[in-house]
Symmetry: C2
Subunit: 406 residues, 2 copies
């Protein structure tokens, strides 16, 4: 007999049971966005690769300018100009200066750049410096940003746009990322028909195959749909065995009949062990999780709303384990748009619409009587109401898990 | 002479000047995730398409159960069973009941379902009902969720996973979405080399082409890179004219030389008008925006960190206008990890790392001396410090714009 787990216990079990997949691949930089880094990225060179000016001005030896002022300029002989994109050919000799544009190379021997606004060009090869420079002023030294061996990005990070920029700056054009987990998706139930068909009496469309496939892709996995399996345990067994052979994680949704429920549990037991059977949340209670030789097998509720929330919470966590992703759940606070009544001993997950009004963000609960489309369409995120909470007043501050972030 | 705009003024100008692109296309449902709806989606059918039970039990006429109890059950004759996925063939006759599984069709004439737990099967074709049912109990009526003509999703919404679920449930297998804007990306500067090359003295890699392309893709646009253009106004003119012919929005980054700056402004004036030249923010001040016959042309700063933040803030807003996306900027509150000193008359944008500690989220400012990689690598979002703010204390609550959400 399996006891029902709290959502926190279920997450702990997922994190404690499964391990990252071993596969990694080297992908072109632009394909790396959204992928999970397989190893630390350390710099192999100095950035910048040369001492650079941050202003348009004259590279100087700071000591040559000490004590100067508008009234008593330091007079330096102009020894040339550094062109953008070219190296500074000659070292600076004392009492001279070299013109350097913003981003240009500062010659060896110079240790500061004086902004052109604080200089005067006498036209005879002499530049007057009107303000003293301190060493390091208006320049970035070679390696100030990164130097060989510095860890720039940690393994487990899901690469974002700015990370791609940093990698490009280091000349890293291919990145080692974790293999995308392959997720097998199986829908069960005699009442299901493909979404492109029109339901006859008693039939409903197989929403879960399409929706879970899109969710998996958003979460960085590759979905494989095994179609709709009729309510016959042998067929389900065959589908699961096919999926286990080709996938890293299996989602079986539906199976509301006792036969299919037992079949799902039985198949998991035949291929491994059941980790839990039931999560104390609403919707989503009849969720099963099994471990088939290191591969998570989820038995998800058939109702698409329940399947969606369970997947956002638990399948997502399992995929993060498989890719080794270090993910934080970041929530957005909002004012609850209206009062929500108590629930009964289970954590409750409620879809919300976000609404901006003046400077405040409101989360309006999606009301529905087991509604499918009304619960899913246009929802911007969800809130959870803890098991022991007896309800929330309108205007209470709630933490919204936004659907925008994967 | 163009005056510098505040960030708010710049956003208003973008929203007031440009209009949505007219193009739309019909894409398969699974390709619709992340795209912007071109029109309202209204339901064309009833969902559910039949009266459905939400429990395993007996469909009854509620009035036949009024007044019953454990002690005095209502005795109903069992008139059959509805199978999952099949229509209820016969209407319910008074004083009878029909077994219906969860999700099964409730026969005509029945107006409630009594959970099996509150019934007793006497084995002789008679079912005892132990608790009275009220009309509508444990069932969802046809069209409770949606009905023909109900608006399910509004034009302008960026479709998410749950929206895809709702569309699948309605049998909508292709969705009308706005054309993805095509963004032309041009990098300028004699110091730039392609990222796969190793910089010689004074050279730096062209980070912006790669980074802006990935950003555009994340924002739902198709990037076209026109390469690195040397510091010659005629070459830039040619590149911009090519880009204008094939793109909906142009990004020119770099051009730190006076010649290229003037060239960018001049080209915009030749093809339209300049909307602003300078934004009061740090980094990003030397940003230009022009309107070339309805197409936004941005002159972005060459420094990748500045180009990145300006793009996140303003290019993103322009793309949302082009697709007609109704987007909210949602921020995540966090405690500032350390004090930040004042800035000077300009809004300041500062990258942050997010760090979870116990139950609190901290935003640690990315410190850098014009650092490129250190500013970009691993940043999880940014905060803005308003123009008139004189600094923030450690522990202050800041609003983080997360990079996770597009």
């Amino acid at each position: 007999m399996f006891t029902v787990k709290t959502p926190e216990e279920a997450l702990d079990i997922i994190r404690d049971t499964f391990s990252p997949l071993s596969g990694e691949e080297l992908v072109p930089l632009d394909a790396g966005c959204g992928r999970v880094l397989a190893r630390d990225i350390t710099a192999g060179e100095y950035v910048p690769g040369f001492d650079r000016s941050t202003v348009d001005g004259y590279a100087v030896s700071a000591r040559d300018t000490f004590g100067c002022s508008d009234a008593i300029p330091a007079l330096l002989s102009l020894a040339g100009e550094v062109l953008m994109g070219e190296a500074a050919e000659n070292a600076l000799i004392p009492a001279s200066c070299v013109y350097v544009p913003t981003g240009g190379a500062v010659p060896e021997g110079a240790d500061a750049v004086v902004m052109i606004e604080y200089t005067e060009d006498y036209g005879d090869g002499t530049i007057g410096i009107l303000r003293p420079a301190s060493p390091g002023m208006n320049m970035i030294y070679r390696g100030d940003d990164v130097y060989p061996g510095k860890r720039v990005l940690p393994a487990g990070r899901r690469l974002g746009v700015s990370d791609i920029g940093a990698l490009a700056a280091m000349g890293i054009t291919r990145v080692p990322v974790k293999k995308r987990p392959v997720v097998g998706i199986i829908s069960t139930g005699d009442e299901l028909i493909p979404i492109e068909e029109t339901p006859a009496g008693g039939q409903i469309r197989d929403v879960n195959s399409s929706m879970l496939a899109v969710l998996c892709r958003q979460l960085g996995a590759d979905p494989v749909c095994y179609g709709i399996i009729r309510d016959e345990p042998e067929k389900l067994t065959k589908a699961v065995e096919n999926a286990l052979a080709g996938c890293d994680l299996i989602l079986i949704s539906g199976g509301s009949s006792v036969g299919l429920k037992d079949a799902t549990a039985g198949i998991i037991e035949n291929h491994g062990r059941i980790l839990f059977h039931g999560i104390a949340m609403k919707p989503g209670k009849p969720t099963i999780l099994g471990d088939a030789g290191g591969k998570p097998i989820f038995g998800l509720p058939g109702h698409p709303v329940a399947a969606f929330f369970v997947s956002r919470l638990f399948v997502r966590a399992a995929l993060a384990v498989l890719t080794g992703e270090s993910c934080l759940l970041r929530t957005i606070p909002a004012y609850l748009g209206e009062a929500l009544s108590a629930n009964h001993g289970r954590m409750e997950v409620i879809g919300v619409h976000l609404r901006q009004e003046a400077d405040a963000l409101y989360a309006d609960p999606v009301h529905t009587k087991s509604g499918l489309i009304s619960s899913l369409a246009g929802a911007d995120g969800y809130i959870t109401i803890p098991r022991d909470c007896e309800g929330l007043a309108a205007g209470a501050i709630v933490e919204v898990n936004s659907f925008e972030a994967p």
